[in-house]
């Protein structure tokens, strides 16, 4: 902090306004110690945000953790402080893979991992491809950019319910095109039940998620100096070499954040499967978010549901920490 910041931070604007020009009045105001003025102001300014963060995130999280240690069922929800403590029982039930509840949770965990891998991977690939393609200035580029962002701008419910209609076996657009018009399938396929349901889920998730990747990467591409490409071009580098040697390394910091955000959003996604399949998803598309919702709100075992949520939180924290550790190490290595 430099010496130029000398305005007394303890005096609010209105007081300053009225006392301007009056040295005596200013001197009468209580003096705020310098160390608080210098060191405390940022914290004071952060206080409202911290309080809100407490209210919105931390307290519900603590309440959720408390609930995970209680046998909270319909018998106690109107006075859930009275629900009996069960220690780690809810956690035991959740992780006991030899029993149906634990087995089902493990199954939904694997389904979610597969779903996340493909949904994030394809969203990222599409985002990169579209961002690179739209770097060059051509007629209609603005329109295309706007069109590509439409899925991101649409309300999730309206968009996914439209997909649900399109995926209907007998009256849906997908089978109409694949079966009736192109003749690619022997008979109309089921998309909302059975084996194909995971493909339907990935398709909708990618459709919904890739515009965000596109937006982030398009912004990042603007920051790469054109001179680099010109120099590479003069040196004889082709388009693929330019992408590999200039574009991708330059996008690396953005990609690191982008992949992490997409991973967290996709792994936790509740709206897409819920609107597409309802409260009981097919086995092949039984994502963990829906599974936890079903345990908590459909079968009314809020204790077990909370334990599952805490386990999910821990898993995501560990994955995020490991990811950040390796990516930051990579960054440091690159700087060195």
């Amino acid at each position: 902090m430099t010496a130029t910041v000398t305005t007394d931070p303890g005096v609010d604007k209105s007081t300053r306004g009225t006392s301007r020009g009056s040295g005596d009045a200013r001197r009468k105001l209580p003096r705020i110690p310098d160390r608080i003025r210098r060191g405390g102001l940022p914290y004071l300014l952060l206080l409202p945000a911290v309080l809100l963060e407490l209210l919105i995130h931390l307290i519900p999280m603590i309440v959720g953790i408390v609930m995970s240690f209680r046998q909270l069922t319909q018998f106690f929800i109107s006075n859930w402080g009275a629900a009996p403590w069960t220690g780690l029982d809810n956690y035991r039930i959740a992780v006991d893979v030899d029993a149906p509840i634990g087995e089902a949770l493990l199954h939904s965990f694997f389904v979610t991992c597969v779903f996340t891998f493909f949904a994030v991977g394809l969203s990222w690939l599409l985002g990169v491809a579209a961002a690179i393609m739209l770097q060059e200035n051509f007629r209609g580029r603005g329109v295309l950019r706007a069109v590509f962002l439409v899925p991101y701008a649409l309300p999730v419910y309206a968009a996914v319910i439209t997909w649900a209609f399109m995926f209907q076996r007998d009256n849906g657009l997908i089978n109409h095109v694949l079966h009736d018009q192109l003749g690619l399938t022997d008979q109309p396929s089921f998309w909302l039940i059975g084996d194909n349901s995971i493909y339907a889920l990935i398709i909708v998730s990618v459709w919904k998620g890739w515009p965000f990747a596109f937006l982030m990467l398009m912004a990042a591409l603007q920051n790469i100096p054109r001179e680099l490409y010109e120099a590479a071009s003069i040196d004889g580098a082709g388009i693929w070499q330019q992408i590999r040697k200039i574009t991708m390394p330059s996008l690396r910091p953005v990609n690191q954040v982008l992949v992490l955000v997409l991973f967290l959003w996709t792994f936790n996604d509740f709206n897409t499967p819920y609107v597409l399949f309802g409260k009981s998803a097919p086995e092949n598309a039984d994502l963990i978010s829906i599974h936890i919702y079903q345990s908590s709100f459909v079968t009314w075992n809020f204790g077990t549901g909370s334990a599952m949520s805490v386990l999910l939180l821990l898993f995501l924290l560990v994955v995020t920490a490991v990811y950040l550790f390796f990516t930051s190490r990579g960054r440091k290595g690159a700087r060195a």
Binding site: R35, I36, G39, G40, Y43, L44, L47, V50, L51, L54, L55, L58, I59, P60, I62, V63, V66, T73, Q74, F75, F76, I77, S78, N79, W80, G81, A82, I93, A99, P100, I101, A104, Q168, R169, D170, P188, F190, L192, I193, G194, D195, G278, K279, S280, P282, E283, Q294, F297, V298, T299, W300, N301, T304
Partner: protein, 437 residues
């Protein structure tokens, strides 16, 4: 910095303490109060074709109540899909409406929360007495042996709706009275892209309603006398298999019905793609889809043999909507007055006529409007051959667990995977194991 850290610690401690003491959840007073005697909040379930239509239907009645009592009722119509979650949230926070509609199959589950006013003799007296209501409707309002958690408002039962022209074209003169006849007729009707019977294979509640009735016919209750899940009895397995076999073995339900959950089977029926549906009071929906009353007929749901009755001849669950009062209401007297108003003979006639349901109030049933052929079938079914779904606290889990098992079996049938006694039993066993209580 030390001061700031201390302040932050105090803030955190107060916030956490507030959060943890908040664990007390909603208020759990025993009988409400009369702190706000001039207002009531009412959550009505979506009964009509839309929320706007419900508001239009109910608002004049609520004005009438306001004129009579001076109590203003603030109406909110809640879609079915949201209603149970909204009730759970209100129960947890203690911040709910004064009066609300609940699905009658949820009665015992919601009763277990202790958040609803019990309708003991004294409370029933305040609305004219328990005897005014038909027995089966009251039996579906809470656990046996305990004061009901709600009062019946609209009653419904299942019937077999059939397309007269499709029957005539297939040379069938009378609707099937037994399942064997239904399958036999069904095979005649299922041809040229048309199908005999409609189903909602992905609708968990509907699956449960059908499985429960067939279960009764196979002497299976799905719960034992202690209220413990008993999904794998021979009767329960046979019931579920019989229902899924209409698609898997008998081929009288279109495979596409396996993914239906939004009443698409009614649309198929109205378009003449399906000849029969098992449904509750479908007349208004058919009319809304352009079908004329003379195009369709209605008959009791088939039974194994003979005529419908109780026990093995049960052919419907007791369906309907109940009216409950949140125990912590600030207008307990007004809430009871409002329930009395809504269940009065006059209002029952108006509302049930509008919604196409049967009044659970005996005196109101005598209105000629409820003697129309379709409603007469529903009324007689309700009176003589319907049984309430198991009134156990974990009924909600039952709907999800067994409803999902039936949904998965329909998915197997639609995909051509064989549906055997073993595969049905395995699905039901898995469903039973997920029941935690």
């Amino acid at each position: 910095m030390r001061h700031l850290r201390a302040a932050a610690a105090v803030t955190l401690a107060i916030s956490v303490a507030a959060g943890v003491t908040g664990c007390g959840g909603g208020t759990s007073t025993d009988g409400g109060s009369n702190e706000a005697p001039k207002t009531l909040t009412y959550w009505a379930s979506n009964q009509g074709p839309s929320i706007e239509a419900d508001k239009k239907i109910l608002t004049p009645e609520l004005k009438k109540f306001e004129k009579e009592t001076g109590i203003k009722v603030k109406l909110e119509v809640v879609p079915w899909a949201d209603l149970l979650n909204r009730i759970l949230a209100a129960t947890t926070s203690g911040q709910g409406p004064d009066v609300l509609n609940i699905g009658n199959t949820w009665s015992a589950s919601l009763q277990a929360t202790g958040a609803l006013l019990p309708w003991d003799d004294k409370n029933f007296e305040a609305i004219g007495g328990r005897d005014r209501f038909i027995d089966s409707a009251v039996a579906s309002a809470g656990k046996e042996g305990e004061p009901p958690a709600a009062v019946p408002l609209y009653s419904l039962s299942y019937a077999l709706y059939y397309n007269k022209k499709m029957f005539a074209d297939a040379g069938i003169t009378t609707p099937p009275a037994t399942w064997d006849q239904l399958v036999k007729d069904g095979k005649k009707l299922s041809k040229d892209g048309k199908w005999a019977l409609g189903a909602e294979g992905s609708n968990l509640s509907n699956n449960i309603h059908q499985a429960f009735v067939l279960g009764q016919q196979h002497s299976a209750d799905f719960f034992d006398e202690q209220g413990k899940a008993d999904f794998t009895s021979d009767g329960a397995v046979a019931a579920v298999k019989q229902y899924v076999d209409f698609m898997a073995k008998d081929k009288i339900i279109a495979p596409g019905n396996a993914e239906y959950a939004q009443n698409q089977s009614l649309t198929d029926f109205a378009k003449g793609k399906t000849a029969m549906v098992l449904w509750q009071a479908a007349a208004t929906t058919f009319a809304a889809q352009g079908m004329k009353p003379e195009d369709w007929g209605v008959a009791p749901v088939p039974v194994p043999a003979g005529a419908p009755g109780t026990g093995k001849q049960t052919n419907s669950m007791v369906a309907g909507i109940n009216m409950a009062v949140f125990k912590n209401t600030k207008n307990i007297d007004g809430a009871k007055k409002f329930v009395k108003f809504m269940t009065s003979d006059a209002e029952q006639k108006i509302l049930c006529k509008t919604y196409g349901s049967i009044p659970p109030v005996k005196a109101a049933q005598s209105d000629p409007a409820f003697a129309a052929p379709d409603l007469k079938v529903l009324r007689d079914t309700l009176a003589t051959s319907a049984a309430p779904l198991p009134q156990v606290p974990n009924e909600s889990q039952f709907e999800t667990a067994v409803g999902t098992a039936v949904k998965e079996l329909f998915a197997d049938a639609a995909a051509g995977t064989p549906v055997t006694t073993e595969s049905v039993k395995a699905r039901l066993e898995k469903a039973q194991q997920t029941m935690q209580q």
